[in-house]
């Protein structure tokens, strides 16, 4: 399985930067996501390993969904033998075309995977219109 779960998109050391800078220094990663839509809702699944529920922020305003998850530093007192990933911040934004019912948003974080249910507002749901003969 190839690992596409993390894309380093920004480092605050100035080599690459996009958009507003983070206030905390450290690498920022783009979590891999699945997004699908049903008649009633849009569901976002994001891989954010190492993020605890209290370190995850979900923000939706002006149709822009922002996901920010922080990963704490590794315990001190250990020396590196092999390092393939760094602790940092997961950050990703999406623009939503549909109107979302803010009050009914449901977020669940389990085993490093966020599941975010964004129910569409009633009027945005497609309605079946029956055409009567006559």
């Amino acid at each position: 399985m190839s690992n596409e779960s993390r894309t380093e998109m920004q480092r605050v050391d100035g080599t690459m930067s996009t958009g507003p800078e983070q206030t905390r220094p450290g690498p920022v990663y783009m979590p891999a996501v699945d997004i699908f839509e049903t008649d009633g809702a849009i569901t976002v699944l994001a891989d954010m390993p190492g993020v605890k529920p209290d370190q995850l922020e979900i923000d939706l305003r002006d149709n822009v969904l922002t996901l920010t998850g922080r990963v704490g530093a590794a315990p001190t007192g250990e020396t590196d033998v092999l390092r393939e990933y760094d602790a940092g911040t997961f950050f990703r934004q999406f623009t939503l075309a549909e109107s979302i019912d803010q009050a009914k948003i449901d977020a669940k974080l389990a085993d490093g995977v966020l599941r975010l249910e964004l129910p569409k507002v009633e009027r945005a749901k497609p309605r079946q219109i029956t055409v009567r003969a006559g």
Binding site: S5, R6, I35, E37, M48, P49, L82, Y85, G112
Partner: protein, 153 residues
């Protein structure tokens, strides 16, 4: 999905692995700047799952990023200084009428073997899975630990 290994499957610890790792990452980052895109790409290591190994005087700590894996689907085996972690990551099928906008999260089987710098006590290895991170604590084998020798005067 198939196992794709861009880099050697068994990182060895001889020489200066950390330095090698840093150079490798810098190089890949430089290449990425040329490409100039922000789309997901394989992690710098090119393998799944990415693994960090640390040590203190008595133990090795192996941490692997495995989000959304069922703990019973992970199999770990160790023999002297060889450690292997394998398993399967399955992504549940969603509502059949769901229309996908994006599908980036990888699924499939994985298998990684590591060679540690010294043998470990395989009977006392502990494994824990939390927040999508698998943490293994591997006590170094007693007979392989360096001895402190007191110089008598």
């Amino acid at each position: 999905m198939i196992v794709r290994r861009v880099w050697p499957a068994r990182p060895t610890f001889e020489g200066s692995p950390h330095e090698y790792d840093t150079i490798r990452r810098e190089l890949l980052r430089a290449l990425d700047m040329f490409a100039g895109d922000r789309e997901p790409r394989p992690s710098p290591s090119g393998v799944f799952p990415p693994i960090n190994v640390t040590q203190d005087a008595d133990r090795f700590y192996v941490r692997a990023e495995l989000p959304g894996v069922v703990a019973s689907e992970i199999s770990i085996s160790a023999l002297r200084n060889r450690l292997s972690i394998s398993g399967k990551r399955e992504i549940a099928r969603e509502h059949e009428r769901a229309s996908y906008h994006r599908r980036e999260r990888p699924e499939g089987t994985f298998n990684r073997t590591l060679t540690l710098p010294m043998p470990v006590d395989a009977d006392r290895i502990e494994a824990r899975y939390a927040e999508g991170i698998l943490t293994l604590t591997l006590p170094k084998a007693e007979d392989a630990k360096p001895r402190q020798i007191v110089v008598k005067t």
